[in-house]
Symmetry: C2
Subunit: 233 residues, 2 copies
DNA sequence: CGTTAAGTTGATAGGTTTCAACATACGTGG
DNA sequence: CCACGTATGTTGAAACCTATCAACTTAACG
């Protein structure tokens, strides 16, 4: 029995394109790996040597300027695909934000396997097109939104993406959502293109206005979803 | 003889994955269309009804906030692919910046054709992965770079992408490149997440420092490539 | 040649960053 | 289990960069 049968993302990751026999072949060239928070799987600028599926946890994709400024260019969750198949160098590092488990393949092996399995490539294409859509939407935020709009948009996206990921709890209260963020304040700043101080100020402002509550540093309760949506611009 | 045989992007667009017979079948479901500057092919928010290949010209992909701020999220050139295959709604409008010629397909027809031709889907996947890389690199610019760094980066990218596109001329001078921009000042501002005034000021500053020359509003000559690269951060 | 759109320049205001001090949470070892 | 030291986050004041508003200039087109 291939270990994929037990995989929790079996039906959501690109692997869902494969039947049992194909899956066994894919499993043969992959291996699972755990990553601790802060640990990197891929470094910016190195040529693409491996790709992976996220099984559990949250990871960031980030680039840096020469003088050390950082921009998080993507965040990946369970069932998402990591890495750059089909040549080229990796434009961004991949680092775990939480304890994470990934299913790793050598890029060469994966490339060869993918080219022989069009259904897998199709899943990967759909996933990549979706990721491109999401990334472009984020550009509007980075280029045109104010700090308050940025944080509100961020919290709304978090509330949406973390539901059912084990990182959030839905209270029975209508319009109330409690989310445990997988990000530090600095990381939120790096996602939004702001400084940590500005992020902090916006958090306390939203709290003072009764739109959110902050039970702890990593937890946010959305008290007034409509107001938060209005803030998002 | 299929009209694709005469197509100038035949060997660069995703069509290059197809043999003569397949190409004829693809040609049967597509048609060419010309677009005037400022005219749109796709509107933001509508569900995806068509896709296309760019044959000639330059087009922008853009999104707007409710209150009218615009962000250009991508720029496409000859041989690039436009649109969102495999369902979903279009997250951004597509508008011609110059006179443009495109090869248009109904999305439904294209989807069906693509699913039967894995080689075509593979080309599309490679193109989409490349576009995602480019888009993520642009996020660093939007989120973390200053106005001067933004404009310098923009000019360098233009110098690179417009070479051999009929929009630029290489003088024999080493390190000197003359580029005819397909953008107005406002459009440059919308690419960089700035205002038109800030863009204008940065242009004149670079000119006063002898790094570039501005023969006309649409033309830029890069006089000192090294200095411009340094400005780009 | 006049009209209009596009771009430039200047003065001012505003938002975000920067620098600094302080507060709070976290982990480790006594 | 508490104390301490460190990392993380918050708050304040000032500086800086970019946006805004307004006037002016230049180029494009009939």
């Amino acid at each position: 029995m291939s270990s994929c049968d037990l995989c929790v993302v079996r039906n959501r990751a690109i692997c869902s394109a494969l039947d049992a026999k194909e899956l066994e072949a894919l499993n043969a060239i992959g291996r699972t790996r755990t990553i601790a928070p802060g640990e990197s799987l891929i470094w910016e600028g190195e040529d693409s040597v491996l790709v992976a599926n996220v099984i559990d946890g949250v990871l960031k994709l980030s680039t840096n300027t020469e003088d050390g400024r950082e921009q998080i260019v993507g965040v990946v969750y369970p069932s998402d695909f990591i890495g750059r198949p089909f040549g080229g160098t990796t434009g961004h590092g991949v680092t775990a934000l939480t304890d994470a488990k990934v299913c790793v393949f050598s890029r060469r092996d994966f490339d060869a396997f993918a080219r022989e399995h069009p259904a897998l490539e199709h899943k990967l294409l759909e996933r990549t097109l979706g990721e491109l859509d999401r990334t472009r939407r984020w550009m509007l935020l980075l280029g045109r939104k104010s700090a308050s709009e940025k944080l509100a948009s961020f919290l709304l996206e978090m509330a949406e993406r973390l539901v059912g990921q084990g990182c959030s709890f839905d209270f029975e209260m209508p319009n109330q959502k409690r989310v445990t963020l997988p990000f530090s304040r600095q990381q939120i700043a790096d996602v939004l293109g702001l400084t940590i101080e500005t992020v902090s100020r916006q958090f306390t402002r939203l709290k003072n206005e009764g739109i959110i509550d902050l039970p702890s540093r990593r937890d946010v309760t959305i008290l007034d979803l409509a107001a938060l949506t209005a803030e998002a611009g």
